[in-house]
């Protein structure tokens, strides 16, 4: 088994005629949080979708524990890798508990539809996301923050070592954003899960990432611990923004303070 549970090797992915991810190689470190950042259209969501085998590579491969992901049975992959897409939607009237239970799909079969382990996994997922009291409520009645916690609970019930999330904090207010990020941080710290997520906010990325991957024009611009890679030049290159980077007084991680307010400089990518 390779040290990295999920790798991209010379990965090229695109839609129709357009190449979005271009010959990219990447190793996701086990048991840590990897955050993918980059300007709009840099290919970060596409990379995440390809890592979750939602998109077929044009060239290269995604390796799950060293084996090509497209050659593995889809249920086997689903037992090891879970994904939360950007804005998931649940059928009308579905309750929290039913939605979370859907995460058990890859572990179930025609005759094994609700084992003790299924039940335990759902209970644990509800407890970990503090949604146990919401269990009987329909999803459509929940607030945005509660809903996102429930979706995360569904992916937790899947009991995968790897968890991929595409902008899990979008549409949430600041308190709920921090809630979700703390929850994911706890999962990694306490349960040894490996998390890969796309985030928009570079400062949150710096706070929560163990490993930061910055994308630029479908390639990796820089990767490593935030403190090693994020500085003013990095912000200029990746986001096309003049900024001062200081030490975050709370966490000691890089904190990016934009200095230009009106005019953007052009990105290098």
């Amino acid at each position: 088994m390779s040290a990295s549970p999920l790798q991209a090797r010379e990965l090229t992915v695109g839609y129709d005629g357009r190449v979005v991810v271009d010959g990219l190689s990447l190793e996701i470190p086990r048991g840590l949080i990897t955050v993918v950042v980059g300007a709009n259209g840099c290919g970060k969501s596409t990379l995440l979708r390809a890592l979750a085998r939602l998109l077929k590579p044009r060239a290269g491969a995604v390796l799950l524990d060293g084996r090509e992901i497209d050659r593995l049975p889809s249920k086997e992959v689903a037992k090891r890798l879970g994904l939360l897409p950007q804005s998931p939607s649940a059928p009308d009237g579905m309750t929290v508990e039913d939605l979370v239970a859907r995460g058990r799909y890859p572990h179930q079969g025609l005759f094994r539809q609700w084992s003790e382990r299924d039940e335990a996994a759902v209970e644990a997922a509800l407890a970990a996301t503090e949604t146990t009291e919401l269990r009987a409520r329909p999803i459509d009645e929940l607030s945005g923050g509660q809903r996102q916690r429930v979706w995360i609970a569904m992916t937790l019930a899947q009991e995968t070592e790897l968890l991929l999330l595409d902008e899990p904090t979008t549409f949430l207010d600041l308190a709920h954003q921090i809630d979700v990020l703390e929850l994911l941080d706890g999962l990694v710290a306490e349960r040894g899960r490996t998390v890969v997520m796309v985030l928009h906010d570079i400062n949150q990325a710096c706070r929560y990432a163990d490993h930061l991957v910055a994308m630029c024009g479908g390639r990796i611009h820089a990767a490593g611990p935030p403190a090693d890679v994020v500085d003013a030049a990095f912000i200029r290159d990746v986001f096309g923004l003049e900024a001062e980077v200081i030490e975050d007084p709370v966490t000691g991680t890089p904190l990016c303070l934009p200095t230009t307010t009106s005019r953007r400089t052009t990105t290098r990518c």
């Binding site: 979708r49 979750a52 085998r53 939602l54 889809s74 249920k75 086997e76 992959v77 689903a78 037992k79 890798l81 879970g82 994904l83 897409p85 998931p88 939607s89 649940a90 059928p91 009308d92 009237g93 579905m94 309750t95 508990e97 039913d98 859907r102 995460g103 799909y105 890859p106 179930q108 025609l110 005759f111 094994r112 539809q113 609700w114 084992s115 003790e116 299924d118 039940e119 269990r135 009987a136 329909p138 899947q158």
Partner: protein, 349 residues
């Protein structure tokens, strides 16, 4: 567990039964059975319910036996089975496209059957009792296959399938009109009657194909209902839960097309049943999983067609209304209620 559920676990087998769904299913089944008996009992020559039951048990006199077993029972059974097939088909179409407004009528599957059947009725000199159903069957399957092929672009997206389906339905309608302008009045009248959808005069030869198709497909569909549940979360999540999305959707759509085809072949296109039955089922238990929804929708479809047929026979007796007129009359106001509700809460269904 919350929500009134019973868990059964024996060795490697584990199941969870939603009691409210089981109760609803029992109620619908009882309703279908009662409507079936009533449908056999009521008519120009009334037969007391006791005699109906006795005859079904094999203890009736010869005249009653003839009316019950040869005339009314097959008709009532065709109503039950075609209704169940349409209800199932509608539930699958709606779930697989994630669109509560979809039904085989809307996306041209029934339309394909209509063109073929009407063409046989109008153009063939010997429009036999076998040729028309076979044509309808072939037409529906051809329309379903064409629809899938046209909607395919490296995968089939629910919305694209619906849009292409509306095109297929329009094309089929044009085909029906064309055939109608080419025919003679007697044949055109017969074709019109077929287009409304009726169970009048249906015999055992119509019951068996329906019964056989349902016996083969229904258990398979309910067993794979879990895939529909995963698909209901959207393609991305379904795939990441380990569902082979395209293959599952093709399989499910193909089954729904076959169910529609067999039902339409037996009765003509009975309108609105496939659309309304899943909505009624969801009303009974909001948020129900596919394994509960599918049998409930089948039951609602069956109930709708049997009761509509009964109403059509009684409303203007001795003149009979074809069942297709009654289902449309019953369903139209329901459709409006649904749309009102939908515009109020922002979502349909």
């Amino acid at each position: 567990m919350t929500g009134g559920r019973v868990v059964v676990r024996r060795g490697p087998v584990s199941l969870r039964v939603d009691l409210r769904v089981a109760l609803a299913l029992a109620a619908v089944s009882a309703g279908v059975l009662a409507a079936l008996v009533a449908s056999v009992s009521v008519g120009e020559f009334g037969i007391p319910i006791g005699d109906v039951v006795a005859t079904l048990a094999g203890a009736g006199d010869q005249a009653t036996e003839f009316i019950v077993l040869d005339l009314r029972l097959p008709r009532a059974l065709v109503a039950v089975l075609s209704g169940a097939a349409l209800g199932l088909a509608g539930a699958i179409f709606q779930a697989a496209t994630r669109n509560p407004l979809v039904s085989p009528d809307v996306i041209g599957v029934s339309g394909g059957a209509a063109v073929a059947a009407v063409a046989v009725i109008v153009f063939s000199s010997t429009a036999s009792a076998v040729a028309v159903p076979l044509a309808a069957l072939a037409g529906a399957i051809a329309a379903g296959a064409g629809l899938y092929a046209l909607a395919w672009r490296g995968g089939v997206d629910g919305l694209r399938l619906v849009l292409v389906g509306i095109g297929v339905a329009a094309l089929a309608q044009a085909g029906v009109w064309y055939v109608m302008t080419q025919g003679r009045i007697f044949e055109v009248a017969e074709a019109y009657l077929w287009l409304i959808g009726s169970v009048n005069g249906r015999g055992w030869e119509h019951v068996w194909p329906l019964a056989a198709t349902l016996a083969v497909l229904a258990p398979a569909i309910v067993a794979t209902g879990r895939r529909l549940d995963a698909l209901a979360l959207g393609d991305d999540l379904a795939r990441s839960l380990g569902v082979a999305v395209e293959r599952s959707r093709l399989l499910l759509l193909a089954t729904a097309v076959v169910l529609t085809a067999v039902a339409v072949a037996a009765t003509g296109p009975i309108g609105f049943v496939a659309f309304v039955a899943p909505h009624l089922a969801r009303r009974m238990r909001p948020g129900v999983s596919a394994q509960g929804l599918l049998p409930l929708a089948a039951g609602c479809g069956a109930l709708l067609v049997v009761i509509s047929d009964l109403a059509g026979r009684l409303a203007f007796a001795p003149t009979e209304l074809p069942v297709g007129i009654v289902t449309s009359v019953l369903a139209a106001p329901y459709f409006l209620v649904l749309l009102r509700r939908a515009s109020r809460v922002g979502v349909a269904g």
